[in-house]
Amino acid sequence: MSDPLLQVTSLGKRFGGFVALDGIDLEVLPGERLGLIGPNGSGKSTLVNCVCGSLHNETGSVRFAGQLLDGLPAHRRTHIGLARSFQLPRPFISLSVADNLRVPLLYTVRRRALLRRSAHELDERCIELLAQVGLDGKARRMTSDLTQVEMRKLELARAMAAEPRLLIADEVMAGLSHSEIEDIITLLLRLNEQGVTVIMIEHIMRAVMRFSQRLAVLVSGRKIADGIPEDVVNNPEVVSAYLGQ
């Protein structure tokens, strides 16, 4: 039984009087594929923000590979192997599509590498990553030329560019066609085979069921279920709170 890669303990976050997260406990084992579902506003993205350091949690703690993340700024968390895509895409609008990926390559990957990669090699890597999400054709374009769907793919590619140990994919599939969803699932499965732990946050149940080894459900800031997907989707509380909708 290996130690969890990510260990969230009693995580709490309030915005003024509003309780966004109410004592969340969550563990993710190395190499695992976790699905995280729940209604809009249930706190999924807030949880991701707290884990990755974009927000400060008031109570509870987050451990990654045994290391306590309290007070560690977001960029340091990315350096140690935590990467996420943003639910609402946040592209670097003054950079080309390819250069959007250059930033994590320059500041996260190159930091770890012992070899200095030339500008040409970085460029190749950017194109390679874009090809994995089907955006290599638009590498030189500006992000304003991308559709909403393509921007989500860019988000995913940018998270992948950081070569994470744990990748959190926050609703990357919204608006994608059937075949595009299949492509993303295949991509994430391949990443997982290469050793990347993946947390998938989605509303598309079909994708979540296919991909996840384990499923956790968040409703109104609380985790109400956590287990094998088949069991979770038949859990009456889950059905009434989320799936019945």
Binding site: C52, G53, S54, P73, A74, H75, R76, T78, H79, A83, R84, F86, R90, P91, F92, I93, S94, L95, D99, R102, V103, P104, L106, Y107, T108, R111, R158, A159, A161, A162
Partner: protein
């Protein structure tokens, strides 16, 4: 174009400019040219933090004045070394009076440290609060200087400009020397801006400007990068300010901290274009020359009014600045 070629070309252009000015043999050219070059440095320095990084600094005058007042303080030290340099400090006596390039370096160093400190206090906050804090800081420093009698306080300080200076075998009229120093500073500022643009740091700046949260998530150490920007920007501004007392002869807080510096440092890059080293250069040369003409023909108040109006107009109508407009024209045609 590789950096070395850019640097050499810029140096060559500067040398040509200097040679041309010497040949024309009109002192006014040097006086006016100094001011325009000073603005090139200030605008380029401002743009490193403002245009590249997205953090607006309204306190340009403070950094400029720090450079100027460092020079004043050191000049006063040099005028009376026995009185001020006692005990262990007496070891420094032979160094005084300091040469102008040394004053520039020291002014830049101190201004850079102030930039670092100020950044450390305020850069964790939204860009908006940073901008307000820079305004606040400018007033704090002005108040400090007004209350510091050693550099003359509100009465001001006189600096007597030497007539000539001898460098090796050459004897230069001092104003030409000042012009030369500012020319070299302009080359330095442009070189730094250009070097940043094509470097890893340039990508970091752009990512912070576009979306700081996403930049952090991508692994960019945003606080550290922003501190580099404020330190560098502040240092360059301080360097531009150091020769000022020698240029103008009489320094008092109202002039050194003047509104003209604050608005010009913002207007020139915003009008010229903020995304590359060319914008502040174009803005400084155009606006700087325009101001020289208007100040002499009409009045200095009207001159500032024109700058303000141009700033608002460009910001509203042509956000990409002159350089941006030209690029768009070229791209279309």
């Amino acid at each position: 174009m590789p950096f070395t070629r850019f640097f050499l070309l810029t140096l060559a252009a500067a040398a040509a400019a200097f040679a041309a000015a010497v040949l024309v043999h009109n002192d006014y050219l040097f006086f006016a040219g100094y001011v325009v070059l000073q603005f090139v440095v200030l605008a380029t320095a401002w743009n490193i933090l403002g245009g590249y990084c997205g953090y607006v600094n309204f306190g340009t005058a403070a950094f400029f004045a720090i450079g100027a007042y460092t020079a004043v303080a050191l000049h006063k030290l040099a005028a009376n070394p026995d009185r001020y340099l006692s005990g262990g400090w007496a070891l420094l006596k032979p160094l005084f009076p300091l040469s102008l390039p040394t004053l520039v370096a020291v002014g830049g160093l101190i201004a850079g440290i102030v930039g670092l400190g100020m950044g450390y206090l305020t850069l964790r906050l939204r860009g908006v609060f940073f901008a307000i804090a820079t305004l606040a800081m400018a007033v704090v420093f002005q108040t400090l200087i007004i209350n510091w009698d050693f550099v003359g306080g509100s009465r001001g300080a006189y600096i007597i400009r030497p007539d000539h200076i001898t460098i090796g075998a050459f004897e230069l009229p001092y104003i030409q020397y000042l012009f030369l120093i500012m020319l070299l500073l302009a080359v330095l500022a442009l070189a730094i801006a250009r070097a940043i643009e094509h470097s890893r740091l340039g990508f970091a700046f752009a990512s912070i400007r576009d979306d700081e949260l996403a930049a952090e998530a991508a692994g960019v150490p945003t606080l550290r990068i922003k501190l580099i920007a404020t330190t560098l920007s502040g240092a360059l501004m301080g360097m531009a300010g150091a020769p000022f007392p020698y240029y103008i002869g009489y320094v008092e807080p109202a002039a050194a901290f003047g509104l003209a510096y604050a608005v010009n440092a913002v207007a020139m890059p915003m009008i010229g274009g903020t995304t590359s080293w060319g914008g502040p250069l174009v803005g400084a040369i155009l606006l700087g020359s325009l101001q020289q003409i208007v100040t002499v023909t009409v009045s200095s108040a009207v001159n500032l009014l024109i700058v303000g109006v141009l700033l608002v107009m460009f910001v509203v109508i042509a956000p990409k600045g002159i350089v941006g407009l030209v690029y768009d024209r070229l791209a279309r045609g």
